[in-house]
Symmetry: C2
Amino acid sequence: MTTEGLTPPPFDATTEWLRGEGESADVVLSSRVRLARNIAGHPFVIKAGRKHRQRTLELCRERVLHAGLATRVAWYELHRAPHLERALLVERHLISKQLSKGRASCGGPEDPRGVAVGLPDERLSIMVNEEDHLRIQVIRSGLALTEAWTEIDQADDRIESGLDYAYSPRFGYLTACPTNVGTGMRMSVMLHLPGLRLTGDIEKVKRAAADMCLAVRGFFGEGSEAVGDLYQLSNQTTLGKPETAILHDLERVIVPRIVEYERQSRRELLARRRVGVEDQVMRAWGLLTHARLLSTEESMQALSLARLGVQAGLLRDRAGATPDIRAINQLLLLVQPAHLQRAVGRELDQDQRRVARATLTRTRLAGG
Amino acid sequence: MTTEGLTPPPFDATTEWLRGEGESADVVLSSRVRLARNIAGHPFVIKAGRKHRQRTLELCRERVLHAGLATRVAWYELHRAPHLERALLVERHLISKQLSKGRASCGGPEDPRGVAVGLPDERLSIMVNEEDHLRIQVIRSGLALTEAWTEIDQADDRIESGLDYAYSPRFGYLTACPTNVGTGMRMSVMLHLPGLRLTGDIEKVKRAAADMCLAVRGFFGEGSEAVGDLYQLSNQTTLGKPETAILHDLERVIVPRIVEYERQSRRELLARRRVGVEDQVMRAWGLLTHARLLSTEESMQALSLARLGVQAGLLRDRAGATPDIRAINQLLLLVQPAHLQRAVGRELDQDQRRVARATLTRTRLAGG
């Protein structure tokens, strides 16, 4: 195990969750489990002053870097990281927007906080001093909640073996926000639902999810809009239901049902409106391979249709080959502002980003 | 000279006015001169019953087929032609919509009427029993009003040598509508003005044209909308000004001024908004080479931008070559409904035409 310093992650690392592989990868982009944990005898982050935060930061950093969590673990002190690097970590889904900003009451960017990232695949990440002292997260490609759960459970045990978690025999793990008390666990899947959007049935799915106490959010989680037909579905219950029951319901009952519904929509679209769908897919491909200016939203919408096109066998590049789904998945990340700026190696204003986004997209999909 | 029967013109003939050559061909798509003529001693078409019309039709047909007007002259009896063939002739700018329909008072489609077309380049056409007994037209590629005038003047002389035109020493040629009395001549140019549309200065040109008593119309003349940034500019005066004066004003003063204004707009756009213009051009090219469904209007708008792209040196196909301007020009015609149906050899409903239009466009621009 090596420990890396302040080096930011390679902007184009082979991120596990964009591999486009695993169960139901045609619909489930990724699966994610996160645990909220706090250290006993230390005030919750929200109640802690700067001094206490600095103390928990050191405690947690020490622990996560020596728990044998991954072959390599990178550590980022976010109060020392430039804005662009923090934005990069947000875009890679390694830290939350909240952690990126820092708490206003504790100096905002100066707020002592950090994140540990398992390299090279970034499957594991551990935020320190977010809402809780520790927010452990594992992301996997495809529908793989069980694997993610097994992995995070082991990581959790390893960390706990050297840290005393705040735990109540009656309530379970104690967390800053009551909605996390109990298991402290949240599971989510990132779903790609272009078929349901095109048939208009997406609203039914959203209502059904709400009825089952599941939250439906956008590509960047809480408060974000659904762009590129990507929806994050997550459990809301953390109290009174064991992790394995939540896992089973989500992975074996609910998600498979939505996956089947999405696949059914795609089949129906291809049976009844094939040319119309093909037209949308090919126009999107034409846009991605020709435009000289692209906004984030427009490019993500086109990438969504390209993904659908590859999976439905509608999309062929000029050489007659099916474009690489991984290249398309990765672009979902690379078209984001911080990644673009990292790619060109300097800060860009909005207009310059539109140029860089179009250039990058065109270059990456050059076979098209 | 041979005379052809009812065979419709080849749908994809090398039409003179789409060659994309000649003076100022970057802005002036084509130049057209037409003469309105009537036969002395016969009632004007509008006053004539079916019998008289049949008589003038025979007289005119006899004359235009034996006046040595072109190497080959095709003759179409429109009251015997199917709807689709008449629509084809309208799209090729060889007959007017009015002549295609026939006069309601004379049985509409049964109304005796015809058109003679000089082959193979379709430069010359002569409508019989439109508003006047004879409507002679010459179309040339680029700014070539003098050539068109010389050519039509000769054709007019040849026809007149065997027919007695209705003429008044005081008023000149007598025509059914007073707006044509005098020279009976109308000159027009088809202008491609994407630069002025993009800068927004097109409205100034329209107002200036109106001030000079010039009419500005769309691609299909009177009553048609401007699509594909194509505008037909024509003189309105036929009385009190000799043909050569009109010719001089239009060809040597007014059109060159608009051409220069359009070129200036393009230069400014390239200097100030190059990436934006390139983006629009490349998006249009991506659409033309990828879409599976295309409407007439959408395809003409994209073809207009592709034309601009070729002329501004912005457009390269995948092989790095500049696309053929003639292929783009010809598509302006081939995407029209009747041409599409002719291309596939059967009647198509609107949805089928959208598919056929996209297929044809993609195939023709395959280098892209």
